[in-house]
Protein backbone atom coordinates (compact mmCIF):
# COMPACT_ATOMS: atom_id res chain seq x y z
CA UNK A 1 0.00 0.00 0.00
CA UNK A 2 1.19 3.50 -0.79
CA UNK A 3 2.13 6.06 1.87
CA UNK A 4 -0.56 8.48 2.99
CA UNK A 5 -0.19 12.11 1.90
CA UNK A 6 -1.23 15.32 3.68
CA UNK A 7 -1.34 18.98 2.71
CA UNK A 8 0.64 20.81 5.41
CA UNK A 9 1.26 24.22 3.81
CA UNK A 10 -0.97 26.43 1.67
CA UNK A 11 0.03 29.68 -0.04
CA UNK A 12 -1.44 31.85 -2.74
CA UNK A 13 -0.89 35.33 -4.13
CA UNK A 14 -3.72 37.79 -4.48
CA UNK A 15 -5.17 37.56 -7.99
CA UNK A 16 -5.78 40.35 -10.46
CA UNK A 17 -6.03 41.14 -14.15
CA UNK A 18 -2.75 43.01 -14.30
CA UNK A 19 0.36 43.44 -12.15
CA UNK A 20 2.78 45.23 -14.45
CA UNK A 21 5.51 45.62 -11.84
CA UNK A 22 5.89 41.88 -11.13
CA UNK A 23 7.61 39.31 -13.36
CA UNK A 24 6.86 35.57 -13.53
CA UNK A 25 9.44 34.52 -10.95
CA UNK A 26 8.56 37.23 -8.45
CA UNK A 27 4.94 36.09 -8.63
CA UNK A 28 5.89 32.47 -7.91
CA UNK A 29 8.22 33.46 -5.07
CA UNK A 30 5.31 35.22 -3.35
CA UNK A 31 3.18 32.03 -3.29
CA UNK A 32 6.12 29.76 -2.36
CA UNK A 33 7.16 31.86 0.65
CA UNK A 34 3.54 31.98 1.86
CA UNK A 35 3.15 28.17 1.61
CA UNK A 36 6.46 27.57 3.41
CA UNK A 37 5.50 30.05 6.15
CA UNK A 38 2.12 28.33 6.54
CA UNK A 39 3.92 24.97 6.97
CA UNK A 40 6.56 26.58 9.21
CA UNK A 41 9.28 25.03 7.03
CA UNK A 42 12.10 26.35 4.88
CA UNK A 43 12.92 25.70 1.22
CA UNK A 44 15.82 23.49 2.42
CA UNK A 45 13.28 21.07 3.91
CA UNK A 46 11.68 20.47 0.49
CA UNK A 47 12.92 17.28 -1.19
CA UNK A 48 11.31 17.86 -4.58
CA UNK A 49 9.81 20.93 -6.25
CA UNK A 50 7.41 20.91 -9.21
CA UNK A 51 6.14 23.74 -11.33
CA UNK A 52 3.13 23.93 -13.64
CA UNK A 53 1.65 26.43 -16.09
CA UNK A 54 0.67 26.89 -19.73
CA UNK A 55 3.90 27.43 -21.71
CA UNK A 56 2.40 29.31 -24.60
CA UNK A 57 0.50 31.89 -22.54
CA UNK A 58 3.67 33.79 -21.71
CA UNK A 59 5.43 32.70 -24.92
CA UNK A 60 8.09 30.97 -22.83
CA UNK A 61 8.82 27.24 -23.17
CA UNK A 62 10.22 25.11 -20.32
CA UNK A 63 10.19 28.12 -18.04
CA UNK A 64 11.14 26.04 -14.98
CA UNK A 65 14.79 26.34 -16.05
CA UNK A 66 14.73 30.11 -15.71
CA UNK A 67 12.38 30.12 -12.75
CA UNK A 68 14.12 27.61 -10.47
CA UNK A 69 15.72 30.34 -8.40
CA UNK A 70 12.24 31.58 -7.47
CA UNK A 71 10.62 28.13 -7.12
CA UNK A 72 13.49 26.74 -5.08
CA UNK A 73 13.97 23.72 -7.37
CA UNK A 74 17.69 24.18 -8.01
CA UNK A 75 19.63 21.06 -7.01
CA UNK A 76 16.47 19.02 -6.42
CA UNK A 77 14.31 16.62 -8.38
CA UNK A 78 11.58 18.56 -10.07
CA UNK A 79 9.88 18.96 -13.37
CA UNK A 80 7.67 21.29 -15.30
CA UNK A 81 4.21 20.18 -16.37
CA UNK A 82 1.54 21.51 -18.65
CA UNK A 83 -1.77 19.71 -18.91
CA UNK A 84 -3.92 22.74 -19.74
CA UNK A 85 -6.68 23.61 -17.29
CA UNK A 86 -5.88 20.62 -15.10
CA UNK A 87 -2.24 21.60 -14.65
CA UNK A 88 -2.86 22.81 -11.08
CA UNK A 89 -4.65 19.68 -9.90
CA UNK A 90 -2.04 17.57 -11.73
CA UNK A 91 0.62 19.36 -9.68
CA UNK A 92 -1.12 18.28 -6.47
CA UNK A 93 -1.49 14.76 -7.84
CA UNK A 94 2.15 14.58 -8.97
CA UNK A 95 3.21 15.71 -5.49
CA UNK A 96 1.00 12.94 -4.13
CA UNK A 97 2.80 10.38 -6.34
CA UNK A 98 6.20 11.53 -5.09
CA UNK A 99 5.24 11.11 -1.46
CA UNK A 100 3.01 8.06 -1.86
CA UNK A 101 5.98 6.27 -3.46
CA UNK A 102 7.80 6.42 -0.11
CA UNK A 103 10.81 8.09 -1.75
CA UNK A 104 10.04 11.60 -0.45
CA UNK A 105 8.67 13.05 2.79
CA UNK A 106 8.19 16.67 1.80
CA UNK A 107 7.31 18.08 -1.58
CA UNK A 108 6.50 21.56 -2.88
CA UNK A 109 4.11 21.99 -5.83
CA UNK A 110 3.47 25.29 -7.59
CA UNK A 111 0.98 26.45 -10.22
CA UNK A 112 1.05 29.89 -11.79
CA UNK A 113 -0.05 31.99 -14.74
CA UNK A 114 0.47 35.53 -15.89
CA UNK A 115 -2.42 36.00 -18.27
CA UNK A 116 -1.64 39.66 -18.92
CA UNK A 117 1.46 38.73 -20.91
CA UNK A 118 0.01 36.95 -23.93
CA UNK A 119 -3.08 36.07 -25.96
CA UNK A 120 -4.81 33.16 -24.19
CA UNK A 121 -7.45 32.23 -26.78
CA UNK A 122 -5.13 31.68 -29.77
CA UNK A 123 -2.74 29.83 -27.44
CA UNK A 124 -5.54 27.49 -26.33
CA UNK A 125 -6.66 27.04 -29.95
CA UNK A 126 -3.34 25.34 -30.68
CA UNK A 127 -4.43 22.25 -28.69
CA UNK A 128 -6.81 21.24 -31.49
CA UNK A 129 -6.13 19.39 -34.75
CA UNK A 130 -4.78 22.05 -37.13
CA UNK A 131 -6.15 20.38 -40.28
CA UNK A 132 -9.79 20.11 -39.31
CA UNK A 133 -10.69 21.63 -35.93
CA UNK A 134 -8.53 24.66 -35.35
CA UNK A 135 -10.34 26.93 -37.82
CA UNK A 136 -13.66 26.25 -36.09
CA UNK A 137 -13.21 25.70 -32.38
CA UNK A 138 -12.12 29.12 -31.17
CA UNK A 139 -10.16 28.73 -27.94
CA UNK A 140 -11.77 27.26 -24.85
CA UNK A 141 -14.86 29.44 -25.19
CA UNK A 142 -15.98 27.85 -28.47
CA UNK A 143 -16.00 24.35 -27.02
CA UNK A 144 -17.61 25.42 -23.76
CA UNK A 145 -20.32 27.35 -25.61
CA UNK A 146 -21.26 24.22 -27.59
CA UNK A 147 -21.57 22.07 -24.46
CA UNK A 148 -23.66 24.83 -22.86
CA UNK A 149 -26.18 24.84 -25.74
CA UNK A 150 -26.34 21.04 -25.60
CA UNK A 151 -26.89 21.15 -21.81
CA UNK A 152 -29.71 23.70 -22.11
CA UNK A 153 -31.28 21.52 -24.78
CA UNK A 154 -31.24 18.27 -22.82
CA UNK A 155 -31.86 19.54 -19.27
CA UNK A 156 -34.19 22.53 -19.56
CA UNK A 157 -31.59 24.86 -17.99
CA UNK A 158 -32.06 28.49 -19.10
CA UNK A 159 -29.67 31.41 -19.57
CA UNK A 160 -31.12 32.89 -16.37
CA UNK A 161 -29.80 29.91 -14.38
CA UNK A 162 -26.29 30.57 -15.68
CA UNK A 163 -26.75 34.20 -14.62
CA UNK A 164 -27.80 33.00 -11.13
CA UNK A 165 -24.60 30.91 -10.94
CA UNK A 166 -22.47 33.96 -11.80
CA UNK A 167 -24.36 36.19 -9.36
CA UNK A 168 -23.78 33.63 -6.56
CA UNK A 169 -20.10 33.37 -7.49
CA UNK A 170 -19.73 37.15 -7.30
CA UNK A 171 -21.11 37.16 -3.76
CA UNK A 172 -18.66 34.45 -2.76
CA UNK A 173 -15.66 36.15 -4.41
CA UNK A 174 -16.52 39.42 -2.66
CA UNK A 175 -15.71 37.60 0.60
CA UNK A 176 -12.42 36.16 -0.71
CA UNK A 177 -9.58 38.70 -0.48
CA UNK A 178 -7.44 36.69 -2.94
CA UNK A 179 -10.08 36.54 -5.72
CA UNK A 180 -9.67 38.57 -8.91
CA UNK A 181 -13.20 39.78 -9.78
CA UNK A 182 -14.77 40.82 -6.47
CA UNK A 183 -17.57 43.04 -7.80
CA UNK A 184 -21.07 41.93 -6.79
CA UNK A 185 -23.41 41.32 -9.75
CA UNK A 186 -27.15 40.73 -9.73
CA UNK A 187 -28.82 38.25 -12.08
CA UNK A 188 -29.97 41.26 -14.17
CA UNK A 189 -26.40 42.63 -14.35
CA UNK A 190 -25.16 39.29 -15.66
CA UNK A 191 -27.98 39.02 -18.21
CA UNK A 192 -27.09 42.48 -19.57
CA UNK A 193 -23.40 41.71 -20.18
CA UNK A 194 -22.01 41.79 -23.74
CA UNK A 195 -22.32 38.51 -25.66
CA UNK A 196 -18.96 36.86 -26.40
CA UNK A 197 -19.98 33.51 -27.85
CA UNK A 198 -23.62 32.62 -27.69
CA UNK A 199 -24.78 31.44 -25.18
CA UNK A 200 -21.86 32.71 -23.06
CA UNK A 201 -21.72 36.43 -22.37
CA UNK A 202 -18.71 38.20 -20.90
CA UNK A 203 -19.69 37.60 -17.25
CA UNK A 204 -20.52 33.94 -17.90
CA UNK A 205 -16.91 33.32 -18.99
CA UNK A 206 -14.02 33.15 -16.54
CA UNK A 207 -11.69 36.18 -16.50
CA UNK A 208 -8.01 36.14 -17.49
CA UNK A 209 -6.12 36.55 -14.24
CA UNK A 210 -2.62 36.33 -12.96
CA UNK A 211 -1.50 34.69 -9.78
CA UNK A 212 0.25 31.73 -8.22
CA UNK A 213 -0.54 29.03 -5.68
CA UNK A 214 1.77 26.63 -3.83
CA UNK A 215 1.20 23.64 -1.57
CA UNK A 216 3.55 21.77 0.74
CA UNK A 217 2.75 18.05 0.84
CA UNK A 218 4.03 15.66 3.50
CA UNK A 219 4.15 11.95 4.25
CA UNK A 220 2.09 10.59 7.15
CA UNK A 221 4.99 10.33 9.60
CA UNK A 222 6.23 13.81 8.75
CA UNK A 223 2.77 15.41 8.75
CA UNK A 224 2.00 14.07 12.21
CA UNK A 225 5.24 15.54 13.56
CA UNK A 226 5.10 18.98 11.97
CA UNK A 227 1.47 19.87 11.36
CA UNK A 228 -1.37 20.72 13.73
CA UNK A 229 -3.95 20.69 10.96
CA UNK A 230 -2.94 18.32 8.19
CA UNK A 231 -5.50 17.82 5.43
CA UNK A 232 -5.36 14.31 4.00
CA UNK A 233 -5.41 13.69 0.27
CA UNK A 234 -7.59 10.62 0.56
CA UNK A 235 -7.98 9.75 -3.12
CA UNK A 236 -7.83 11.18 -6.62
CA UNK A 237 -8.82 10.18 -10.14
CA UNK A 238 -7.57 11.45 -13.49
CA UNK A 239 -9.52 10.67 -16.66
CA UNK A 240 -8.62 11.58 -20.20
CA UNK A 241 -11.49 11.81 -22.62
CA UNK A 242 -12.02 10.74 -26.20
CA UNK A 243 -11.36 13.64 -28.55
CA UNK A 244 -14.63 14.09 -30.40
CA UNK A 245 -18.34 14.28 -29.93
CA UNK A 246 -19.21 11.57 -27.36
CA UNK A 247 -19.91 14.31 -24.81
CA UNK A 248 -23.04 15.31 -26.73
CA UNK A 249 -24.57 11.83 -26.60
CA UNK A 250 -25.83 12.07 -30.16
CA UNK A 251 -25.19 9.14 -32.49
CA UNK A 252 -23.75 7.24 -29.53
CA UNK A 253 -24.18 7.01 -25.75
CA UNK A 254 -23.22 10.19 -23.88
CA UNK A 255 -19.89 9.77 -22.11
CA UNK A 256 -17.58 12.37 -20.56
CA UNK A 257 -14.38 12.34 -18.52
CA UNK A 258 -16.24 13.92 -15.58
CA UNK A 259 -18.76 11.04 -15.57
CA UNK A 260 -15.96 8.49 -15.51
CA UNK A 261 -14.06 10.38 -12.78
CA UNK A 262 -17.11 10.70 -10.49
CA UNK A 263 -18.09 7.04 -10.93
CA UNK A 264 -14.58 5.79 -10.12
CA UNK A 265 -13.90 8.05 -7.14
CA UNK A 266 -17.23 7.47 -5.42
CA UNK A 267 -17.19 3.72 -5.98
CA UNK A 268 -13.64 3.35 -4.67
CA UNK A 269 -14.50 5.30 -1.50
CA UNK A 270 -17.96 3.77 -0.94
CA UNK A 271 -19.60 7.16 -1.31
CA UNK A 272 -23.27 6.74 -2.19
CA UNK A 273 -24.55 10.22 -1.22
CA UNK A 274 -21.83 12.69 -2.30
CA UNK A 275 -23.81 15.74 -1.13
CA UNK A 276 -23.96 14.30 2.39
CA UNK A 277 -20.65 12.47 2.64
CA UNK A 278 -18.69 15.43 1.30
CA UNK A 279 -19.64 18.86 2.61
CA UNK A 280 -18.16 21.27 0.06
CA UNK A 281 -16.98 21.10 -3.55
CA UNK A 282 -14.39 23.48 -4.98
CA UNK A 283 -15.19 22.89 -8.63
CA UNK A 284 -13.13 23.99 -11.61
CA UNK A 285 -16.00 26.06 -13.09
CA UNK A 286 -14.68 28.08 -16.05
CA UNK A 287 -18.11 29.05 -17.44
CA UNK A 288 -21.44 29.66 -15.77
CA UNK A 289 -23.16 26.48 -16.98
CA UNK A 290 -20.34 24.36 -15.52
CA UNK A 291 -21.68 24.13 -11.96
CA UNK A 292 -25.17 22.75 -12.75
CA UNK A 293 -23.98 20.65 -15.67
CA UNK A 294 -20.94 19.12 -14.02
CA UNK A 295 -22.67 18.38 -10.69
CA UNK A 296 -24.78 16.07 -12.87
CA UNK A 297 -21.77 14.72 -14.80
CA UNK A 298 -19.80 13.96 -11.62
CA UNK A 299 -22.88 11.96 -10.51
CA UNK A 300 -23.36 14.23 -7.49
CA UNK A 301 -26.98 14.93 -8.46
CA UNK A 302 -29.42 13.40 -10.94
CA UNK A 303 -29.50 14.45 -14.61
CA UNK A 304 -31.38 17.76 -15.17
CA UNK A 305 -31.33 18.45 -11.39
CA UNK A 306 -28.26 20.72 -11.37
CA UNK A 307 -30.03 23.94 -12.35
CA UNK A 308 -32.87 23.18 -9.94
CA UNK A 309 -30.31 23.19 -7.10
CA UNK A 310 -29.22 26.65 -8.32
CA UNK A 311 -32.85 27.82 -8.28
CA UNK A 312 -33.23 26.60 -4.69
CA UNK A 313 -30.06 28.43 -3.60
CA UNK A 314 -28.63 25.12 -2.36
CA UNK A 315 -25.15 25.74 -3.78
CA UNK A 316 -24.49 29.10 -2.09
CA UNK A 317 -21.85 29.53 0.58
CA UNK A 318 -24.43 29.08 3.35
CA UNK A 319 -26.45 26.52 1.40
CA UNK A 320 -27.07 22.82 1.72
CA UNK A 321 -24.13 21.93 -0.58
CA UNK A 322 -21.75 24.85 -1.16
CA UNK A 323 -19.97 24.76 -4.52
CA UNK A 324 -16.91 26.97 -5.11
CA UNK A 325 -17.32 29.19 -2.01
CA UNK A 326 -14.10 30.98 -3.01
CA UNK A 327 -15.86 32.40 -6.07
CA UNK A 328 -14.35 29.66 -8.22
CA UNK A 329 -12.73 29.90 -11.62
CA UNK A 330 -15.61 32.13 -12.72
CA UNK A 331 -14.08 34.96 -10.65
CA UNK A 332 -10.37 34.02 -10.76
CA UNK A 333 -8.68 32.21 -13.60
CA UNK A 334 -4.92 32.24 -13.75
CA UNK A 335 -5.00 28.89 -15.54
CA UNK A 336 -1.79 27.31 -14.25
CA UNK A 337 -2.93 27.83 -10.66
CA UNK A 338 -6.72 27.61 -11.13
CA UNK A 339 -6.99 23.88 -10.43
CA UNK A 340 -4.38 24.02 -7.64
CA UNK A 341 -6.44 26.80 -6.04
CA UNK A 342 -9.41 24.41 -5.99
CA UNK A 343 -7.36 21.94 -3.92
CA UNK A 344 -5.97 24.75 -1.73
CA UNK A 345 -9.40 26.28 -1.10
CA UNK A 346 -10.98 22.88 -0.34
CA UNK A 347 -8.15 22.24 2.15
CA UNK A 348 -8.70 25.65 3.78
CA UNK A 349 -12.40 24.78 4.19
CA UNK A 350 -11.44 21.52 5.96
CA UNK A 351 -9.00 23.36 8.23
CA UNK A 352 -11.65 25.98 8.97
CA UNK A 353 -9.20 28.64 7.77
CA UNK A 354 -11.14 30.05 4.81
CA UNK A 355 -11.98 33.20 6.78
CA UNK A 356 -14.82 35.32 5.37
CA UNK A 357 -15.75 32.65 2.83
CA UNK A 358 -15.72 29.71 5.27
CA UNK A 359 -18.90 27.69 4.64
CA UNK A 360 -21.44 27.36 7.42
CA UNK A 361 -21.59 23.53 7.43
CA UNK A 362 -18.90 21.61 9.21
CA UNK A 363 -16.49 20.23 6.61
CA UNK A 364 -15.09 16.74 7.14
CA UNK A 365 -14.57 15.79 3.53
CA UNK A 366 -14.27 18.01 0.48
CA UNK A 367 -14.05 17.57 -3.26
CA UNK A 368 -11.84 19.53 -5.64
CA UNK A 369 -11.75 19.20 -9.41
CA UNK A 370 -9.68 20.21 -12.39
CA UNK A 371 -10.80 20.45 -15.98
CA UNK A 372 -9.00 21.27 -19.18
CA UNK A 373 -6.85 20.05 -22.00
CA UNK A 374 -9.12 18.40 -24.50
CA UNK A 375 -11.93 17.86 -22.01
CA UNK A 376 -10.22 15.87 -19.31
CA UNK A 377 -10.82 15.64 -15.59
CA UNK A 378 -9.14 15.43 -12.21
CA UNK A 379 -11.26 14.78 -9.14
CA UNK A 380 -9.74 14.80 -5.64
CA UNK A 381 -11.17 13.77 -2.29
CA UNK A 382 -9.72 15.57 0.75
CA UNK A 383 -10.41 14.63 4.34
CA UNK A 384 -9.98 15.98 7.86
CA UNK A 385 -9.14 12.52 9.16
CA UNK A 386 -6.88 9.87 7.73
CA UNK A 387 -9.52 7.16 7.27
Amino acid sequence: MSNRVAIVGIGQTTHSGRRPYVNDGELIYDAVTKALADADLSINDMESVMLGNMDLFEGHSLNDAMLNLYSGAAGKPGFKMNTGGTVGSMMAIQGWYHIASGLYDLCLVIGWEKHDEGPATPAISTITDPAVDRPFLVGAIGGLATVSVAYMQRSGCKLEHAAMVRANASQAAARNPNAHMREIYSVEDVMKARMVMYPLNLLMCCPTSLGACALVLASESKAKKISKKPVWMKDHVTVHVEYGGAQFGIGEKRWTSHMEAGAKLFKRNNITKPMKETQVFEMYDPFAFAIPMWLEDFLICEPSEGWKLIEKGALKLEGEYPVSPSGGVLCTNSIGDSALLRVAEAALQIRGDAGEHQVTREVKQALASGFGGSFWSDLLLLSKTMD
Binding site: Y21, T146, M197, G245, F248
Partner: protein
Protein backbone atom coordinates in the same frame (compact mmCIF):
# COMPACT_ATOMS: atom_id res chain seq x y z
CA UNK B 1 -5.46 59.08 1.35
CA UNK B 2 -5.49 56.97 -1.77
CA UNK B 3 -2.60 54.52 -2.07
CA UNK B 4 -0.12 55.63 -4.70
CA UNK B 5 -0.55 53.68 -7.93
CA UNK B 6 2.74 52.11 -8.86
CA UNK B 7 4.04 53.19 -12.25
CA UNK B 8 4.58 50.64 -14.96
CA UNK B 9 8.22 49.59 -15.16
CA UNK B 10 9.97 48.30 -18.26
CA UNK B 11 8.32 45.72 -20.51
CA UNK B 12 9.33 44.18 -23.82
CA UNK B 13 7.03 43.63 -26.78
CA UNK B 14 7.47 40.20 -28.30
CA UNK B 15 5.83 38.51 -31.30
CA UNK B 16 6.31 34.83 -32.05
CA UNK B 17 5.93 34.13 -35.76
CA UNK B 18 6.93 30.56 -36.39
CA UNK B 19 6.24 28.63 -39.61
CA UNK B 20 4.99 25.03 -39.30
CA UNK B 21 4.08 22.20 -41.68
CA UNK B 22 1.59 19.70 -40.41
CA UNK B 23 1.08 16.33 -42.12
CA UNK B 24 -2.54 15.23 -42.22
CA UNK B 25 -1.60 11.52 -42.28
CA UNK B 26 -2.80 8.63 -44.43
CA UNK B 27 -6.46 8.65 -43.42
CA UNK B 28 -7.20 12.37 -43.50
CA UNK B 29 -5.03 12.56 -46.62
CA UNK B 30 -7.32 10.05 -48.33
CA UNK B 31 -10.42 11.87 -47.05
CA UNK B 32 -9.16 15.18 -48.46
CA UNK B 33 -8.20 13.49 -51.80
CA UNK B 34 -11.75 12.15 -52.18
CA UNK B 35 -13.21 15.52 -51.25
CA UNK B 36 -10.97 17.33 -53.75
CA UNK B 37 -11.34 14.92 -56.67
CA UNK B 38 -14.92 13.68 -56.28
CA UNK B 39 -16.56 16.06 -53.80
CA UNK B 40 -17.64 13.15 -51.61
CA UNK B 41 -17.43 13.01 -47.81
CA UNK B 42 -16.37 9.62 -46.47
CA UNK B 43 -16.55 7.97 -43.05
CA UNK B 44 -14.30 5.08 -42.13
CA UNK B 45 -15.32 2.27 -39.83
CA UNK B 46 -13.77 0.59 -36.82
CA UNK B 47 -13.65 -3.19 -37.47
CA UNK B 48 -13.93 -3.82 -33.70
CA UNK B 49 -16.79 -1.59 -32.52
CA UNK B 50 -18.35 -0.76 -35.90
CA UNK B 51 -18.51 3.00 -35.33
CA UNK B 52 -18.38 5.13 -38.48
CA UNK B 53 -16.16 8.17 -38.17
CA UNK B 54 -16.50 11.36 -40.17
CA UNK B 55 -14.07 12.97 -40.00
CA UNK B 56 -12.27 9.62 -40.40
CA UNK B 57 -9.43 8.53 -38.13
CA UNK B 58 -6.65 5.99 -38.51
CA UNK B 59 -7.13 4.39 -35.10
CA UNK B 60 -10.29 3.95 -33.01
CA UNK B 61 -9.85 5.80 -29.70
CA UNK B 62 -11.64 3.16 -27.68
CA UNK B 63 -10.36 -0.10 -29.21
CA UNK B 64 -6.98 1.14 -30.41
CA UNK B 65 -7.69 -0.80 -33.63
CA UNK B 66 -6.48 0.33 -37.06
CA UNK B 67 -9.44 1.45 -39.18
CA UNK B 68 -7.67 1.93 -42.53
CA UNK B 69 -9.36 -0.83 -44.62
CA UNK B 70 -10.32 1.31 -47.61
CA UNK B 71 -13.11 -1.02 -48.86
CA UNK B 72 -14.96 -0.37 -45.59
CA UNK B 73 -15.19 3.39 -46.15
CA UNK B 74 -18.75 4.64 -46.69
CA UNK B 75 -19.97 7.89 -48.25
CA UNK B 76 -21.79 10.03 -45.65
CA UNK B 77 -23.77 13.28 -45.77
CA UNK B 78 -23.71 15.80 -47.30
CA UNK B 79 -26.91 16.24 -45.27
CA UNK B 80 -26.84 15.97 -41.52
CA UNK B 81 -28.27 17.10 -38.20
CA UNK B 82 -27.03 20.01 -36.11
CA UNK B 83 -26.27 18.77 -32.59
CA UNK B 84 -25.20 22.04 -30.98
CA UNK B 85 -23.46 25.28 -31.90
CA UNK B 86 -21.79 28.46 -30.75
CA UNK B 87 -21.88 31.94 -32.20
CA UNK B 88 -18.85 34.22 -31.84
CA UNK B 89 -19.81 37.86 -31.47
CA UNK B 90 -16.35 38.90 -30.35
CA UNK B 91 -13.29 38.52 -32.57
CA UNK B 92 -10.15 36.61 -31.56
CA UNK B 93 -6.70 36.19 -33.04
CA UNK B 94 -6.45 32.95 -35.04
CA UNK B 95 -3.20 31.05 -34.41
CA UNK B 96 -3.23 29.29 -37.80
CA UNK B 97 -3.20 32.46 -39.89
CA UNK B 98 -2.34 35.27 -37.48
CA UNK B 99 -5.49 37.07 -38.61
CA UNK B 100 -8.53 38.17 -36.63
CA UNK B 101 -11.68 36.03 -36.79
CA UNK B 102 -14.37 37.56 -39.00
CA UNK B 103 -17.53 37.93 -36.93
CA UNK B 104 -20.32 37.00 -36.65
CA UNK B 105 -19.03 33.43 -36.85
CA UNK B 106 -21.32 30.48 -36.12
CA UNK B 107 -19.95 26.98 -35.72
CA UNK B 108 -22.04 23.84 -35.60
CA UNK B 109 -21.33 20.39 -34.20
CA UNK B 110 -22.84 18.26 -36.95
CA UNK B 111 -23.73 14.59 -37.25
CA UNK B 112 -23.66 13.70 -40.95
CA UNK B 113 -26.23 11.17 -42.16
CA UNK B 114 -24.56 7.76 -41.97
CA UNK B 115 -21.83 8.81 -39.50
CA UNK B 116 -21.82 8.04 -35.77
CA UNK B 117 -19.29 10.66 -34.69
CA UNK B 118 -19.74 14.42 -35.02
CA UNK B 119 -17.64 17.01 -36.81
CA UNK B 120 -17.52 20.77 -36.47
CA UNK B 121 -17.77 23.33 -39.23
CA UNK B 122 -19.02 26.82 -39.97
CA UNK B 123 -22.76 27.50 -40.32
CA UNK B 124 -24.14 29.83 -42.98
CA UNK B 125 -26.85 31.07 -40.60
CA UNK B 126 -25.65 33.56 -37.98
CA UNK B 127 -28.95 34.52 -36.36
CA UNK B 128 -29.07 32.68 -33.04
CA UNK B 129 -32.87 32.83 -33.14
CA UNK B 130 -32.84 30.78 -36.34
CA UNK B 131 -30.24 28.19 -35.29
CA UNK B 132 -31.99 25.34 -33.51
CA UNK B 133 -30.36 22.17 -32.19
CA UNK B 134 -31.51 19.15 -34.23
CA UNK B 135 -32.30 21.24 -37.31
CA UNK B 136 -31.26 19.78 -40.66
CA UNK B 137 -28.19 21.13 -42.43
CA UNK B 138 -26.27 20.36 -45.62
CA UNK B 139 -22.61 20.79 -46.57
CA UNK B 140 -22.01 23.29 -49.36
CA UNK B 141 -19.01 21.98 -51.29
CA UNK B 142 -16.91 24.23 -53.53
CA UNK B 143 -16.93 23.62 -57.30
CA UNK B 144 -14.22 21.17 -58.41
CA UNK B 145 -11.84 23.75 -59.89
CA UNK B 146 -11.71 25.62 -56.58
CA UNK B 147 -11.13 22.62 -54.33
CA UNK B 148 -7.70 22.27 -52.76
CA UNK B 149 -8.02 19.15 -50.63
CA UNK B 150 -8.52 20.81 -47.26
CA UNK B 151 -11.37 21.46 -44.82
CA UNK B 152 -12.23 24.73 -46.59
CA UNK B 153 -13.40 22.69 -49.62
CA UNK B 154 -16.59 22.65 -47.56
CA UNK B 155 -17.68 26.30 -47.65
CA UNK B 156 -20.12 25.95 -44.75
CA UNK B 157 -23.29 24.13 -43.76
CA UNK B 158 -26.58 25.65 -44.89
CA UNK B 159 -29.96 25.17 -43.21
CA UNK B 160 -32.36 22.94 -45.15
CA UNK B 161 -36.07 22.33 -44.66
CA UNK B 162 -37.01 18.68 -44.46
Amino acid sequence: MKPKVQEELIYLDMTLKLPFKWRTGETMGEFFRELKENGILYANQCPTCGRAFCLPKTVCTRDHTRCTERSKWIPVGPKGTLVTFFMAEQSFLLPTTGEMLKIPFAVGIILLDGAMVTLQHQLEETDTEKIKPFMRVEAVIKPKEERKGNIYDIVHFKTINE
